[in-house]
Amino acid sequence: MKQKILANAEIAAIVLIGFIALITGGWSVLILTVVAGALVGAAAPPNRAGVLRALIVGALTALIIVAVTFLHNAYITQLPKQDAIPVGALQPTTYGLALLLGIVVAVLVAALRAHPNKQRGRTGLLILVLFFAVIFPFFEQSVQLFWANAVIVSMIFTLQALGLNIVAGYAGLLDLGYVAFFAIGGYTIAFLNSPQFNLNVSFWLIIWIAAAAAALFGFILGAPVIPLRGDYLAIVTLGFGEIVPIVFKNLEAVKIHEPVTAIFAALFNKPEWVRCLVGCTEPVNITNGTQGITPIGRPELFGVKFMTGQYIPWYFLILAMLLLSVFFISRLRSSRIGRAWVAMREDELAATSMGVNIVRTKLTAFILGAMFSGFAGAFYGSYVSFISPDAFDFSISVIVLCMVILGGTGSITGVILGGLIIKMSDLLFLDKFQTVLGGVLQATIFQSVKSQAMTNFLESLFNASQYKLLLFGLILVLMMRFRPQGLVPSASEDAIT
C-alpha cells in the first residue's frame, strides 16, 4: 500500500477553504491563510516530522488560497452586481505576506504542539491565538473588511454554545429549548436598563443579574424534568423554549384580579364584585409585546463609551467574556462536578451506585448551562440595543445545538470552532456567496434569457440566502451519518447517547 501524501480530510479542508477564498476574496486572504495555517499545524502529528510536514502542506495550502484570491480579485470583481473593489487594492507584497504568514503559522503551531514540554507548548499556542485575536479588529478596521459585526455576533453565539455544551455535551441532556435562557438574559437587561421601566442599572451589574436570572430559570426547568430521559427530555425542553418567547411576546397588558372574588363574580354574573390586584386603572405593560424594548443602555469602562458602529470595545468585551467562560468551563470540566456530569452521561445507573447524586448533578448542569446563555443574552441586548420576542425562536436553539454537534460535543475547542464556523458562514459567507452567484448567473445564464419573468424566477430560485435552513439541515444529517462525534471530538467518545 502506498502512503497517501494528504489525508482525505485534509484535501476536503483545503478545497473548502480554497472555495471560501474564491468567494470572499479581497483582504480576507490574510485571515484565511492564517486560519488555514493554524489548521494545518494542528492536524500535523506532534513531532519533528510533523513540523516538516506542516511546512510543506502549509505552503501548499497558502499558495492555493493566494492563487484563488488572486483569481477572485482579477475576475470575479469584474462580474456584474459585485461589491466595490477592496480599499487600497492589494499589492503583490500583500499576497507575499499572506503566503508567508500562512507558512509561519503552520510551522509555529506544529512546532509548539511538538514542544517537548507540553505545558510550555500549550502556553505558546495560547499566546499565539491571543496575539491574532488582539490584532484582528485593528487589521479589520484598517482595511475596512466589514467583518466586525459578524465576528461579534458569532462570539455571542459561541458563548451560548459553550453553555449548551455543559448541558448537552458534558451531562448528555439534550436541551432543545436553550434559546429560553438567552431570551431571559436579553430581557433582564431590557428591563433593568431602558426607558421601559425608567431604570438605569449599570451594565457591569446587570450581566451578573441576567446570569442569575437565567440560572434561576435553569433550576425551574431542571427540577421537574430530572426523571425524564432522552427524547422526552428533548421535547419538554423544546416546549419550555416555545413558552418563554410566547410569554415575552404577550405580557403587554397585564391586569390581575383576586381569584376568589372573580369566581363568585363569574358564577353570579356580577363583574362589580371583582377585586382588582394589579393593573387596575390601566393594564401594566411589561414587555411591550412584539414591538420589543429599545433603546437598551450601553456599558462604559474607564471613560470608553461603547457605541453602535464602534466595534473594537465590544469586540474586546465579548472576547474577555469568552476567555473567562472557557477558563471557568475547562476548570469545571475537570472538577468533581464535571467528572460527575460525564459519569452520569455515560451511565446513570453506574454513576448513582458510585455515589453521584443524580439530582444535584443534573440541576447544576442545567443551572450552569443556563448561566452562560444569560451572559450572552445580556451582552446581546446591550449590543444591538433592541430586544424583541422574534429574536428568540426555535431556530436559535437548533443553530446553537448545530454548533455543539459540528464542533464535537463535549470538546471546548471543537465547540468554539463550530460556533465561529456556523455563525460566520451564516452572516458573512452566504451573503457574499449570494452576490457572487448572482454575478456569475448574470454573466452566463441570465444574459441568454430574454424574458424578464424567467429572470425573476431564476433569481428567486437561486437566492443563496434562502438556503440557510437547508444548509443547517444537511450539516446535521451528514454529521450524524458520517461523523457523529464532531470535527474535534472530545477525549471521551459518545457525548450524546
Binding site: L228, A265, N269, L277, L461, G473
Partner: protein, 388 residues
C-alpha cells in the same frame, strides 16, 4: 434508612386510609396551587369574569367550538398517528413528520390548482371531485417521501444511540422546511408561459402563506335542517371529520386484521424475533413510514381545505401540536394518538374562544409538559420500562 421508610409510608398511605392531617395538607396544597394558577393564568387569558360573560352571551359558541375542535382534532390525530406509528416501531421521534404534513398541503394546493378555474369573485374555485381525487397524489407523495427519508437519513443510524437519529430527524425537518420555502419560487413561473398558469397559486412571495382554491362552499348545512340555526356546520366540517374517521378506521383494520399489519405489529414488538420468523423488518419499517406519511399527506390536504392556507413554517407548529397529541394519548399507541388528537383539537378550539388565541400554543405546551411530568406514558400508554 429513614428515606426508605418514609417512602414506604407514603406508598401505603396512598393506597389505604390517608391520615386526616395529611388529607388536609394535600387539600390545602391543591387549593394553593389552584389559587396560584388562577392568578398567574390571568395574563394568559384565564379571566373568569370575561369567560362567564362570554358563555352567557353566546351559549351556542360552545357547540360551535366543539365542532371546530373535532374537525381540527381529526387533522391533528391523523398527523399524530404518523408520529406514534414510527415511534412504536423504531422508537424515534420523527421530527420531520410535521414538515411532511406541510409538504402534503403544498402538493394538494398544486393538484387542486390544476383543476380550478377563476370564480365569479376573482378567486380560484375547484370542483368537489378534484378535492376528493386530490387526496391521492398528496398521500402518495408524502408516503414515498417519508419512506425515502427513512431510507436515507434514519436507516443507517438504526444501531446508533437514539439521540443521533433524533438530531438527524431535526436536520431532515429543516431540509424539508427549506423545500417548502423554495417551492414558492415556482409561483414566478406562472408568468413565463401559460403552460405554468396553474403555478400562480403559489404567488409572488416565497415565504407568504398560500391560499387554497375554494372548493367546498361556505353554506351552513344545519340551516337546511333547522332554519335560523346559530351554529354553523359547513361541508368542510363534515368532509374533514368523515375523512378522518374513515382513514382511521381503515388504519385500524389494516394494522389489526391483515397479514401485513400483523407483521408490522410483530416488528414493533420485537424486531429480532420478527426477523427470525421470516418477516422482512426493513420492509415493515419502510411500510410504517409510508403509511404515516400518507396519513400526513391526507392531513395536509384536510388542513388546507379546512383552514384555507398553508405556509412553509406550518410543519413546525402543527407538528409540535400533533406530537403533543401523540404523547398525550400514549406514544406508540394508535388509539391513543386518535384520542389525544381530538383532545388537543378541542383544547385549542376552546382556548381560542375562551382564553386567548395568542396564548393557545403556550397552553398546549403546558399541557404537554404536565402530562409528561405526571403521566409519562400518556393516557392510554403502558409502562414500557426505559422509554421515559
Amino acid at each position: 434508612m429513614t428515606t426508605v421508610t418514609q417512602k414506604a409510608e407514603a406508598l401505603s398511605s396512598k393506597s389505604s386510609s390517608i391520615p386526616s392531617t395529611r388529607k388536609l395538607q394535600r387539600a390545602l396544597f391543591v387549593v394553593a396551587v389552584t389559587y396560584l394558577v388562577l392568578i398567574i393564568g390571568q395574563p394568559a387569558g384565564l379571566d373568569l369574569v370575561r369567560i362567564g360573560q362570554d358563555v352567557r352571551a353566546h351559549p351556542s359558541a360552545i357547540v360551535q367550538q366543539l365542532i371546530i375542535g373535532l374537525a381540527n382534532g381529526g387533522i391533528i390525530a391523523m398527523t399524530a398517528l404518523g408520529y406514534t406509528l414510527v415511534y412504536g416501531i423504531i422508537e424515534l421521534v420523527n421530527f420531520a413528520h410535521g414538515d411532511v404534513f406541510m409538504l402534503g398541503g403544498f402538493v394538494s394546493i398544486l393538484t387542486l390548482s390544476i383543476f380550478s378555474r377563476t370564480g365569479v369573485n376573482g378567486g380560484l374555485t375547484a370542483p368537489l371531485w378534484a378535492a376528493i381525487f386530490g387526496f391521492l397524489p398528496a398521500m402518495l407523495f408524502c408516503g414515498l417521501l417519508n419512506a425515502g427519508i427513512e431510507r436515507m437519513a434514519y436507516r443507517p443510524l438504526r444501531t446508533a444511540p437514539k439521540l443521533v437519529a433524533l438530531i438527524s430527524a431535526i436536520g431532515m425537518s429543516f431540509i424539508l422546511q427549506n423545500l417548502g420555502l423554495q417551492i414558492g419560487a415556482f409561483g414566478k413561473l406562472a408568468e413565463v408561459s401559460p403552460v405554468f398558469k396553474w403555478l400562480a397559486v403559489l404567488g409572488g412571495n416565497n415565504a407568504a402563506p398560500k391560499s387554497f382554491p375554494a372548493v367546498l362552499g361556505n353554506n351552513n348545512l344545519l340551516e337546511y335542517i333547522i332554519p335560523g340555526a346559530t351554529v354553523r356546520i359547513t361541508f368542510a366540517d363534515v368532509l374533514v371529520i368523515v375523512t378522518a374517521i374513515v382513514l382511521m378506521a381503515l388504519l385500524n383494520w389494516f394494522v389489526m386484521s391483515t397479514r401485513l399489519g400483523k407483521a408490522m405489529r410483530a416488528t414493533a414488538q420485537n424486531r429480532d424475533a420478527a426477523a427470525i420468523v421470516g418477516i422482512n423488518v426493513n420492509q415493515m419499517i419502510g411500510l410504517t413510514f409510508f403509511i404515516g406519511g400518507a396519513l400526513a399527506g391526507a392531513a395536509g390536504m384536510m388542513f388546507g381545505l379546512y383552514n384555507g392556507t398553508v405556509v412553509f413554517t406550518l410543519g413546525f407548529t402543527a407538528g409540535l401540536r400533533s406530537f403533543t397529541a401523540a404523547v398525550l394519548g400514549g406514544i406508540g399507541n394508535i388509539r391513543g394518538a386518535a384520542l389525544g388528537g381530538v383532545l388537543i383539537g378541542l383544547l385549542a378550539a376552546f382556548s381560542d374562544q375562551y382564553l386567548a388565541v395568542r396564548w393557545t400554543n403556550a397552553w398546549v405546551f403546558l399541557i404537554l409538559v404536565l402530562v409528561l411530568l405526571f403521566r409519562p406514558t400518556g393516557l392510554l400508554g403502558q409502562e414500557t420500562g426505559d422509554k421515559a
